[in-house]
C-alpha cells in the first residue's frame, strides 16, 4: 500500500541545509497497524506529512496505493487524500460552529466517491463510537475523548483505506487515550490500515508493528 524508497527531506535556513529525513525506506502493506515512534524533532511528523500527501519529499520515490505520487499536482493530491486517507490529529480540529454530525460530513462535500446516504452513515459511525446522544452537540459541548471520536468518525466517513493518526492521544488522559487506541485496534480488525505517529512508548503495545525513528532515520522496525 505504501512504499517509500530513500526518502529525504531537508529545510533550508538561509543557505544552510537542515536535513530532517535522511533516507527512509519503508513498506507498509494493506491491513497493517503500525506505530511510528520517535521523540520530538526525530522527523516523525514530517514523515507522516509525506505519507499523508500533505508534504513532498526533497529526494526519493513514494508509491501510494501502487502508484507513484511524486509528480502529482495539488488538486490530484487533494483528491487522493479525500479518497484514500482519514486523518486524526492531536488537536481534533473540529469546526467549532458545526455540530458533531456536520463535522463528520465535511469530507463528503469534497468527495468524488458515491457514498450512499452519508447522513445515515455518519449517524451509524457516531452510534458505533457511543455518541448517539451527542450527534447534535457542538465540539465545545463534548469532552476530549468524545471530540476525538467525532474526529475519527470524520476520518472514516469517506471509506478510506488508511487511517493516519498524529499523536491521537496527546491531548487526552491515559484512560481515554487507551479507549481511543482500542478503537483503532477495532478498526484495524475490520480491515483498515492504521498508522499512529507518537512519542509515547506506552502506545507501542496497541499496534502490530513498531517503527522507531531517530534523527531522521529508521532505527528499529519490529513486529509487536
Amino acid at each position: 500500500m505504501i512504499t517509500l524508497r530513500n526518502i529525504k527531506k531537508s529545510y533550508f535556513v538561509g543557505d544552510r541545509e537542515l536535513p530532517i529525513l535522511k533516507g527512509i525506506d519503508l513498506h507498509i502493506g494493506k491491513g497493517e497497524f503500525v506505530v511510528l515512534m520517535g521523540v520530538s524533532g526525530s522527523g516523525k511528523t514530517t514523515l507522516m506529512n509525506i505519507i499523508g500527501l500533505l508534504d513532498k519529499q526533497t529526494e526519493g520515490d513514494y508509491d501510494f496505493v501502487d502508484t507513484s505520487v511524486d509528480g502529482l499536482d495539488d488538486e490530484r493530491l487533494a483528491d487522493m487524500r479525500n479518497s484514500y486517507i482519514g486523518f486524526v490529529f492531536q488537536q481534533f480540529f473540529l469546526l467549532p460552529y458545526l455540530d458533531a454530525i456536520e463535522n463528520v460530513l465535511i469530507p463528503i462535500v469534497y468527495s468524488k466517491k458515491d457514498i450512499k446516504h452519508p447522513r445515515d452513515k455518519a449517524k451509524t459511525l457516531l452510534g458505533k463510537f457511543g455518541l448517539e446522544q451527542r450527534i447534535h452537540n457542538k465540539p465545545t459541548q463534548l469532552s476530549g475523548g468524545e471530540q476525538q471520536r467525532v474526529a475519527i468518525a470524520r476520518a472514516l466517513i469517506n471509506e478510506p483505506e488508511l487511517i493516519l493518526a498524529d499523536e491521537p492521544t496527546g491531548a487526552l488522559d491515559s484512560k481515554t487515550g487507551n479507549e481511543i487506541m482500542d478503537l483503532f485496534r477495532m478498526l484495524n480488525e475490520e480491515g483498515k490500515t492504521i498508522i499512529v505517529v507518537t512519542h509515547d512508548p506506552k502506545l507501542a503495545s496497541f499496534g502490530k508493528r513498531l517503527v522507531r525513528i531517530e534523527d531522521g532515520a529508521i532505527s528499529e522496525d519490529i513486529a509487536t
Binding site: 499523508g52 500533505l54 487533494a78 463528503i108 462535500v109 469534497y110
Partner: protein
C-alpha cells in the same frame, strides 16, 4: 461536490449569527444603499403617478392665459397692480381666429367668504362660462351644471365644491338652498365631486362656480377678466400653440415690441417640468448616495472577510487536509461574502419598502413599487463577489501543514 450550496449557506448564516455585531456593521452599508435605491425608486414613481393623475384631473391640452402685473402710476403712489386689459372679447377672438383652438373658457376668480345660516367659509369664487366644466373635467355628485342660457341671463346660481357642501350642509340636501356670496343670495344647483388641489395650487373643493356674466354684473362690477383657459385640439403642439397665442394677444392688445406683456401664459407642462426636474435632481443625488454607500458596504464586507479568514486558518487547514481544493475554498468564502451582502440587500429592500409606504402615506402619493428590486439584488451580489474574492484568494495561501502545526 455535494451538499455544496446548502452547506455554504448554512455556514454563512451561522457566521452571521455567531458574529452578529461585526456582520451587522458589514451589512449596514449595503442595507442603506439598497434602501435608498428602492425607497427612492418607489417614491419617485409614486410622485410621477400622482402628477399623471393630476394632469387628468386638471384637464387635457390646456394653456392658461392670466392677466399679468403692470406698473401703475397714480395719485403719488406707484405700485404693481393686476392688469385690467384682458377682456371677454379677447377670449372670443382667440376661439374664432386662432387655428388649433378647440375651446376657450374665460374666468374671473376672487377669494371671499361665503355664508350659509350661521356658518362662514372662505371660498374661491369663480365666474366661469359653462364651457369650463367640460374643459377641466368637473364632474358633479349632485345636481347639474348651469346652462348657457342661465349665464346669458346672469342668474344667481352656483355649483359648489365638495368641502363647501360638506361644511355647510352635511346631511342636508343642498340643491335649491341659498348661500350668501358677496352679499348676494345664490341658489345651489350642483355639487362637485372631491378633486383635491390642482396644479395652480387651488383647492378645488373650496371652489364656488357662478356664471361669468352673473359674476361680472351682479357680484362684482368689472369689465375685464382674470384669465382664459384655452384648450388645444389634439395633435397641436402646446409649445407652438403657446407662442402663437402670445403673439396673437400682443397683437390684439397692441403691445409694442419694447413693452412688457400685460399677461402671462403657461401650460401644464411648464409646471410639470419644474416638478420633474426636482425629481430628477433628487434621483441623481440618490444614485450618488447609494453608490457611496455600496462602496462603503463593499469595503466593510471586504474587511470583515479578511478578518474572518485569518481567524479561520484552522478551518481552511482541515478542509484542505480532507480534500478541499483551492477552488473550493474560494467558492466557500466568496459565497459567504455574497450571502452576507444579499442579506444586507434583502434587509435594504424591506427597509426601503417600509420607507416607501410611510412617505407615500404622509405625502399622499399613490403607492407604487418599481423594479429597482432586481437591480438592487444584482448589485448586492456583485458587491459580494468583488468584496469576497481577494480575501478568499488570501485564504488559499494557508498551507495545511503550516497552519495545523503552528
Amino acid at each position: 461536490m455535494r451538499y455544496t450550496f446548502a452547506f455554504y449557506l448554512r455556514i454563512a448564516l451561522q457566521n452571521l449569527v455567531v458574529h452578529k455585531a461585526r456582520m451587522t456593521l458589514a451589512l449596514l452599508g449595503i442595507l442603506f444603499a439598497v434602501m435608498s435605491l428602492v425607497a427612492f425608486g418607489n417614491i419617485s414613481n409614486g410622485m410621477k403617478k400622482k402628477i399623471e393623475n393630476e394632469v387628468g384631473k386638471f384637464g387635457k391640452n390646456l394653456i392658461i392665459v392670466r392677466s399679468g402685473l403692470v406698473f401703475a402710476t397714480g395719485r403719488g403712489a406707484r405700485q404693481f397692480t393686476e392688469a385690467r386689459t384682458l377682456k371677454l372679447k379677447d377670449a372670443r377672438m382667440i376661439k374664432e381666429s386662432l387655428p388649433g383652438v378647440a375651446n376657450v373658457a374665460p374666468y374671473f376668480d376672487v377669494t371671499y367668504p361665503a355664508r350659509y345660516k350661521d356658518k362662514m367659509l372662505t371660498v374661491n369664487i369663480a365666474g366661469v362660462d359653462e364651457g369650463m366644466f367640460g374643459m377641466r373635467n368637473i364632474d358633479l355628485v349632485m345636481g347639474r351644471h348651469f346652462t348657457e342660457e342661465e349665464d346669458r341671463k346672469a342668474e344667481k346660481k352656483a355649483v359648489i365644491g365638495f368641502k363647501v357642501f360638506d361644511n355647510f350642509f352635511q346631511s342636508e340636501d343642498p340643491i335649491g338652498k341659498n348661500i350668501m356670496v358677496y352679499r348676494v343670495p345664490t341658489e345651489i344647483i350642483g355639487v362637485m365631486g372631491e378633486k383635491g388641489t390642482d396644479f395652480a395650487g387651488q383647492d378645488q373643493d373650496l371652489q364656488v362656480y357662478v356664471p361669468l356674466n352673473s359674476f361680472m354684473r351682479r357680484y362684482s362690477n368689472v369689465d375685464y377678466i382674470k384669465g382664459i383657459y384655452v384648450q388645444a385640439q389634439d395633435g397641436y403642439s402646446l409649445i407652438s400653440m403657446k407662442a402663437a397665442l402670445r403673439s396673437f394677444i400682443k397683437k390684439i392688445h397692441n403691445t409694442k415690441p419694447e413693452q412688457k406683456d400685460d399677461f402671462s401664459i403657461f401650460t401644464m407642462e411648464d409646471i410639470l417640468r419644474t416638478q420633474e426636474e426636482g425629481i430628477r435632481l433628487v434621483s441623481v443625488l440618490t444614485i450618488i448616495a447609494s453608490t457611496v454607500s455600496f462602496l462603503i458596504g463593499g469595503l466593510g464586507i471586504f474587511a470583515i472577510m479578511l478578518l474572518s479568514i485569518s481567524e479561520r486558518k484552522m478551518e481552511i487547514g482541515i478542509r484542505r487536509v480532507v480534500g478541499s481544493k483551492k477552488r473550493d475554498i474560494i467558492i466557500q468564502f466568496v459565497s459567504e461574502s455574497v450571502i452576507v451582502s444579499l442579506v444586507g440587500g434583502i434587509g435594504g429592500i424591506v427597509a426601503g419598502f417600509f420607507i416607501t409606504i410611510v412617505v407615500d402615506i404622509i405625502g399622499g402619493f399613490p403607492i407604487v413599487f418599481s423594479m429597482n428590486i432586481a437591480l438592487a439584488l444584482v448589485i448586492s451580489m456583485a458587491i459580494g463577489v468583488l468584496a469576497g474574492i481577494y480575501p478568499a484568494i488570501e485564504g488559499t495561501k494557508y498551507e495545511p501543514v503550516k497552519v495545523l502545526y503552528s
